[in-house]
């Protein structure tokens, strides 16, 4: 079969598109574990803070440390299953976001626990949107929806703010993690 330049270019574009789409689904599969972990931890964190507001800092320190350590465990598991060296950039990225958030939590001494509880997930979701612009529109949608719901709950949920945040942020991460696990590809 003779292949002309136009056909060759079109075929190579098709190949590049398939490779990109396949890698996107592989990434979704890996991300599903992180999202389930963070979803469960965050939901527990908000409920625990609602029940024990005086222990908020301690509760969130445990949540964040558990999430980051869980990320390291996922990386090690992935490295073992693929036989490739572990890539810890995602973990460093999480630590950078946490450090940045802690810096401004410390600086904003006038901020109320309610304001900080809305700021943190919005900050994480901002990075989720940026990540999604490069690696998959699913994350853009997730980031925008959770940020919008966080704003609504912050403004109008009254005393049920923390339980609502557990449902919205924790629930969104858990639901999206389960969805990504269903559509994702393992490698």
């Amino acid at each position: 079969m003779a292949i002309d330049q136009e056909n060759a270019a079109s075929s190579l574009n098709d190949v590049a598109r398939m490779e990109k789409r396949t890698l996107e689904l592989v990434r979704y599969s890996y991300a599903s574990g992180y999202q389930l972990l963070w979803g469960i931890l965050v939901a527990i964190g908000y409920v625990a803070q609602y029940l024990r507001p005086e222990s908020g800092i301690f509760i969130w320190a445990i949540v964040i440390v558990s999430g980051v350590l869980g990320g390291v465990v996922f990386r090690i598991g992935r490295a073992r299953s693929t036989g490739r060296p572990a890539d810890y950039r995602w973990v460093w990225g999480q630590l950078a976001v946490v450090a940045f958030g802690m810096l401004w939590t410390g600086v904003f001494t006038d901020a109320t626990p309610r304001q900080l509880s809305a700021l943190w997930p919005s900050f994480f979701m901002f990075w989720m949107v940026i990540f999604g612009i490069f690696f998959g529109r699913f994350y853009v949608m997730l980031g925008l929806i959770v940020t919008a719901l966080t704003t609504i709950v912050y403004l109008w949920s009254g005393d049920l703010f923390l339980p609502c945040m557990a449902v919205i942020v924790g629930g969104a991460l858990i639901a999206s993690g389960l969805y990504l696990r269903r559509i994702g590809l393992t490698q």
Binding site: M1, A8, A9, V15, M18, E19, I183, Q187
Partner: protein, 100 residues
């Protein structure tokens, strides 16, 4: 210059091989591959038959619980043939030279 691979060059089969070649380890389920390459059951099945006859893919049928599951992966010779065909396509473009 190496030659064209007529088995792989067909549009759906090229997409199948591109996807399978990207997955370096595990096999992919039939239903996920179907949505990935945007094909119907029958269409994908016939193209996979052609690729399997050529020795480019391995098809495994098994049960996941009570559900039958078909899993597909590229064979080493399939990966080689795909890489050679992509190199051939690039050569065609390289011969054209930079656009004026």
């Amino acid at each position: 210059m190496s030659g064209s691979n007529d088995i792989i060059h067909q549009a759906v089969r090229l997409r199948i091989m591109a996807s399978l070649n990207t997955l370096t380890g595990d096999a992919i389920e039939f239903t996920k591959l179907k949505s990935l390459v945007d094909a119907t059951d029958g269409n994908l099945g016939s193209h996979l038959d052609a690729l399997e006859r050529a020795g480019y893919v391995a098809i495994e049928k098994r049960f996941a619980g009570k559900k039958p599951q078909t899993r597909i992966k590229a064979t080493p010779s399939g990966r080689r043939a795909f890489a050679e065909h992509v190199a051939y396509l690039r050569e065609i473009l390289d011969q054209a030279g930079p656009a004026a």
